[in-house]
């Protein structure tokens, strides 16, 4: 149970505070309600590039990190399809430095040609390092495109291609900033050795006079059922064959979300889970096999991925997966198996509430999802899932017309 206070500034900035005096630190998280799903299909990768530019200095602070480090703090950020998140961890006595820095870059970023030029190159190298120069590194490019024909989840956060990043212009940067990086499109959460009162004062002082913006309403094209399996085979110079199956699933706030998450756990959470136990250990058909959900805000995916064992064809491996899925659809799982999954989830939730930064980030995440209160009812949602509900959901989700399959077939290098 995480206790917290919530308030809102006049300019629409939502603030969440969790007091924890067991730590000497304070964690600050600012989440902007913009992700790669909000990008122009011809200018993909921009939300993430922009995240890099947020460290390139603002009106009164030429360098974001220097003053924070001088205060004994550290910072980082990430972007995904749904949001952009910046976080700082700093000794609690110096928390005001983080308020100063975060508010200055929300007030007015330096729109510098030099910073843009350097970060374009940095991000292109990141693109190469994570996607192009790794075996299977392009999997998300293919899998998302197969799974989404209308919805902007069809490109990964890094962008469709390096060219989009190379072509980013300073005017795009300025537009994006005033459109999305406004207080009424942001959530500030603070956890650690602080008081609600002090955070309220600091928030008013540093963020209170940042003007509101006009965030355009989000109207994303929705994905309609494809009605058939989408399939792709990549013959590539990868070391081993690999296969990926992606099933469409409901959005994060849908009542079935928790059941689908548990479904992926039946298959693959822990070494006693069905895939690991049966397909890897008993039948020895795979070297590696895994199932998980993407956790997207809007309708997401349940993904199964595996690498067949030596001498096992990718088709045999695929068939074995489907056999397991058919069994899940044929009869409900045993009550004890469900209890095991719930016990595991309970542990995971308790262990995830162990430090200030994760608490700050979880609060902001749930607030963005609709309401920070949700942080305290997740365990109940999982607890309330029944074997009957799981069985129903399995029959709805785990069907061929509802999925995409991507195979990598290893091509030997000449």
């Amino acid at each position: 149970m995480i206790k917290f206070e919530r308030f809102e500034l006049e300019n629409g900035l939502r603030v969440l505070v969790h007091e924890d005096d067991s730590t000497p630190m304070a964690a600050i998280n600012i989440v902007y309600d913009v992700g790669s799903k909000d990008e122009d299909p011809e200018k993909t990768g921009f939300a993430h590039l922009f995240e890099h530019l947020m460290f390139g200095g603002s009106e009164n602070v030429p360098d974001f990190d220097g003053p924070l480090q001088l205060a004994g703090g550290d910072s980082n950020a990430f972007t995904n399809n749904d949001m952009t998140s910046f976080y700082d961890i700093v000794p609690a006595e110096n928390i005001e430095t983080a308020f100063w820095l975060e508010s200055d870059r929300m007030m007015r970023l330096n729109f510098s040609e030099k910073s843009l030029d350097v970060q374009r190159k940095v991000v292109v190298e990141e693109f190469k390092e994570t996607c192009l120069n790794q075996p299977y590194g392009d999997v998300w490019h293919h899998l998302m495109k197969l799974s989404y024909h209308q919805h902007p989840y069809q490109w990964p956060t890094i962008g469709k291609e390096p060219k989009h990043i190379e072509e980013a212009k300073l005017e795009d940067v300025r537009d994006f900033f005033y459109k999305y990086y406004r207080p009424n499109n942001a959530i500030l959460s603070v956890a650690g050795n602080v008081t609600v009162q002090s955070v309220r004062e600091l928030a008013e002082k540093w963020f209170g006079n940042i003007p509101k913006g006009n965030r355009p309403p989000r109207a994303l094209p929705q994905e309609l059922p494809h009605g058939k399996m989408d399939k792709m085979i990549q013959e590539k110079e990868v070391p081993l064959d690999a296969l990926f199956i992606a099933f469409h699933m409901p959005e994060r706030n849908h009542p079935d979300y928790f059941a689908v998450d548990l479904l992926s756990d039946v298959l693959s959470n822990g070494r006693s889970a069905r895939f690991y136990r049966r397909l890897l250990k008993e039948q020895k058909l795979f070297n590696q096999i895994d199932a998980y959900i993407t956790g997207h805000f809007e309708p997401g995916l349940l993904i199964i991925e595996g690498k067949p064992a030596e001498g096992v064809s990718i088709e045999t491996a695929e068939e074995a997966i489907w056999k397991e899925l058919e069994e899940l659809k044929r009869k409900p799982i045993a009550e004890t198996e469900l209890q095991k999954l719930k016990n595991k989830i309970e542990s995971t939730l308790v262990f995830s509430e162990m430090n200030a930064l994760t608490k700050a980030m979880n609060l902001a995440y749930f607030e963005l999802l609709g309401n920070a209160e949700m942080i305290n009812d997740q365990a109940d949602h999982y607890r309330n899932v029944t074997t009957k509900h799981l069985h129903e959901v399995a029959n709805r989700i785990l069907v061929r017309e509802n999925c995409a399959e991507l195979f990598y077939k290893a091509k030997t290098v000449e």
Binding site: N60, Q69, K121, E125, E126, E129, W206, A273
Partner: protein, 428 residues
């Protein structure tokens, strides 16, 4: 009403306060009935516990390459009383997490558990530690999967570069230098694993680290399940010979690669060396954090890479230092030039006061973070215990961070950041 509008001057930074003193966090120790020492950090509000049972069973104890790692990880694949499947099933059922981490020096068995399930998990945990049986079919499966995993890893330039570096520094017969290949794994037999296990996994070669919310019930449970068995050995570290490569510049071409992985490194010293704390500061300035010289120049000014860092690994018997980055193929030479330029600059020019102040504060804040929460604190306690570090060790490092001056840093740079001592590995 915007009452701050008139008074707020954003150009002026808020005043900073000095970071309060950092001390070794309190921990206690006691012995189980069989004499195994237990080190305990009792902190935190959640009803959770982490138990790590550690053996000095790393590569320095191996009679055959690869045995230490495989014997460590296969302990959960079957014991006297439980099959591999039962171990997995029971652990998962009680929401526990069972890990078998091992590194070149040591092997651990670690359990994370909620208080309420601990009694159900401890018997299983003790079995994995004291009664593994190494079934042949599990060995075969594990070695097959490992070989396939290796095939994937060896296509990654950064993996190859790191392997080539440790081999260059220590040679391929040294525990810190050799790299496992398929034949290494394939030549390991069940007898090899049992021999290594019996010789090294003994109660007189064991330490236990517990952290979280520790109650009497937790201590008693641990003593009941782990404190009653006694198994002595006379395990010692074996002699190891270092045979560094003569050639210091090694290039491994990879035609289809879009980037090159660069590793530049050298042997350093053991954690107990008097230069350790000073070098800790020097490394931070050079490549140890986002505001470092390498990051500022090579990423944030030139845009050559997504990431560049320098780091040092402190091992039980030695230590090494290296710089790592992945850059576009066409900028390998300029990137190397800039790396050496930054080393030279630290030798020739004193670090400006403002920069040093920033690094000092950053490191203090960082240490504070690293002492936040029971699981972080126990890691520090482990370092202290495993290296026989005296009381006041942490305070000594804090003192060096606070008092080190530019001339000392220059001297250290002149001693250690010397181009002639560096091995340079480029893959791609």
């Amino acid at each position: 009403m915007k009452k701050y509008k008139e008074v707020l001057n954003r150009a002026v930074a808020p005043p900073l306060r000095e970071i309060k003193s950092i001390q070794t966090p309190p921990f206690r120790s006691f012995h189980l009935d069989n004499g195994i020492p237990v080190y305990e950090v009792n902190l935190g509000t959640q009803d959770v516990v982490k138990i790590e049972v550690q053996f000095d069973a790393g590569r320095f104890r191996e009679k055959k390459q690869g045995v230490a790692h495989i014997s460590a990880s296969l302990r959960k694949e079957g014991t006297n009383s439980f099959s591999s499947a039962e171990i997995a099933e029971q652990t998962d059922f009680y929401g526990g997490t069972l890990q078998l981490p091992s590194n070149v020096d040591r092997a651990s068995t670690t359990l994370f558990s909620l208080h309420k399930h601990l009694d159900n998990l401890l018997p299983l945990f003790a079995e994995v530690i004291f009664h593994p049986v190494y079934p042949q079919d599990e060995i075969d499966l594990s070695i097959n999967n490992r070989c396939r995993g290796l095939q994937v890893d060896l296509t990654k330039p950064e993996v190859v570069a790191f392997r080539e570096m440790t081999e260059a520094l220590y040679g391929n017969i040294h525990p810190y230098g050799y790299n496992s290949v398929e034949e290494t794994y394939r030549s390991i037999s069940r007898e090899d694993l049992l021999e290594h296990y019996n010789r090294n996994y003994t109660t007189d070669n064991c330490k236990i680290f517990i952290s979280g919310k520790i109650t009497d019930a937790v201590r008693k449970g641990i003593n009941r399940h782990l404190g009653q068995i006694s198994r002595k050995g006379n395990g010692k570290s074996l002699e190891a010979i270092i045979t560094p490569k003569e050639e210091q510049q090694l290039f491994f071409p990879k035609e289809q690669s879009l980037q090159s992985a660069i590793r530049i490194g050298r042997r350093l010293f053991h954690r107990k060396h008097p230069d350790f704390a000073g070098f800790f500061v020097l490394n931070c300035i050079f490549g140890g954090f986002f505001g470092s010289r390498l990051m500022t120049n090579i990423r944030e000014d030139k845009g050559f890479t997504y990431n560049i860092f320098s780091t040092f690994d402190m091992l039980a018997h030695d230590g090494y230092f290296y710089i790592g980055t992945e850059v576009a193929k066409e900028v390998v030479e300029p990137a190397k030039r800039e790396i050496y330029h930054e080393m030279d600059r630290l030798i020739k020019e004193p670090v400006p006061g403002e920069e040093l102040q920033m690094v000092q504060n950053y490191l203090l804040g960082n240490m504070l973070t690293s002492l936040d929460g029971p699981f972080n604190v126990i890691e520090l306690v482990k370092t202290l215990v495993n290296n026989n570090l005296e009381e006041g060790y942490v305070e000594g490092i804090v003192d060096t961070i606070k008092t080190i001056h530019p001339a000392m840093l220059q001297e250290l740079a002149g001693k250690y950041l010397t181009r002639d001592d560096m091995y340079e590995i480029v893959v791609g």
